[in-house]
Symmetry: C2
Subunit: 214 residues, 2 copies
Amino acid sequence: MSKPGERKIPRSVIGRFPQYLWETQELRDEGQEWVSSQALADALGFTSSTVRQDLSHLDFSGVAKRGYEAAKLQQVLSEFLGLDAGRRAVIMGAGNLGRALAQHNAFARQGFVIRAIFDNNPKLVGRKIGQLVVQDARDLEAAVRSEKIDIGMIAVPAQAAQAVADSLVAAGVRGILNLAPTNIRVPKPAVVRNARISAGLMELSGAMKMASQA
Amino acid sequence: MSKPGERKIPRSVIGRFPQYLWETQELRDEGQEWVSSQALADALGFTSSTVRQDLSHLDFSGVAKRGYEAAKLQQVLSEFLGLDAGRRAVIMGAGNLGRALAQHNAFARQGFVIRAIFDNNPKLVGRKIGQLVVQDARDLEAAVRSEKIDIGMIAVPAQAAQAVADSLVAAGVRGILNLAPTNIRVPKPAVVRNARISAGLMELSGAMKMASQA
DNA sequence: TAGATTGTTAATCGATTAACAATC
DNA sequence: TAGATTGTTAATCGATTAACAATC
């Protein structure tokens, strides 16, 4: 375990936490009650040393000779990532991608509840998407307040992404997940993370070129 | 410019290339003919030193006092990332996410052409999605061969992701973009990159917790 | 020319890995 | 107990930043 109170956990470590979480869930599903740093490392392609270093940031200890208790590890990781409370999100943009996200029920299982979807196109406003109805983007601020929204997911075209991010921040949203193929910036204490499929494709393509030359 | 032939460019650098590319495109759209390392750094939140280091890996030089020629930079980055030839992709899984990807025409503009979409659910096979018809997953190998597919995008549930990745590799696909919330592994020389929206949400949530404590 | 910006080297910073005593 | 696996320190490795001569 170690320093529960001392923080500044590197971003690279936080980036591996979701992976530990999934892998632990999978191992539990297979009936494992204990997971070792070596087992996680093998599954994820890290070294066991990295895994132990990473997990030592959590307020939680493994047990020598056995490893980490899977159920406990899962719980501590969830808590650390702020998933236990349930994060409340909105989707900005009701195009193909926004609509797909709105109907993607896997998010709920992981602690992310999507409360609303917005668009500024009058043709889309009012349309039903799964359980939700597309709302006018002008009504964002009221919804953020009444629904206590934590996170905005940006699924609009690249040119509109920064303006939409600004409106989310102005409405009081602290966390932004950007899916548009562009770079956006937000003032502190707001936080942005990118989940850009195009970027993934481009990096993949670059990596393929490297691999074919090596 | 420097060593065009010498490789092993760090993954972190390749990860920034798409960002340079987008930013350069945007600046060109605004009419800029030259971009400086400082301008890119400011827009993306890096230091100019990092930008210059990164771009020095490319077979291309800036010009003292002016910066980098935007059109040329865009072209060299595209080429480096293997986008100029046009990458040919298939989508595995015709659920909400897979269907949204199939209709997402932004990919084509960035050099990724989606040639087919597969599912193993007979109810979905034959269904029309945009320009494509959902095919039976058993026909993957033939399609990969006849369509010269480079990339497979995995948009199936987590439990099925590894098996689908294996089938892609067996069919001869070298690059895999994993969108499922799980970790998959492939044998060399195949390459995987992840574009997991759930992971992005979890990292964001963790970063929000850190930011609120700081 | 004078000044701005590159390319590159060297210094710093941070992250990963190795190693091993502690321990269950 | 003996052996496996943790937690942590120290060493290594790699990535970022600073600095500055070269140059257009």
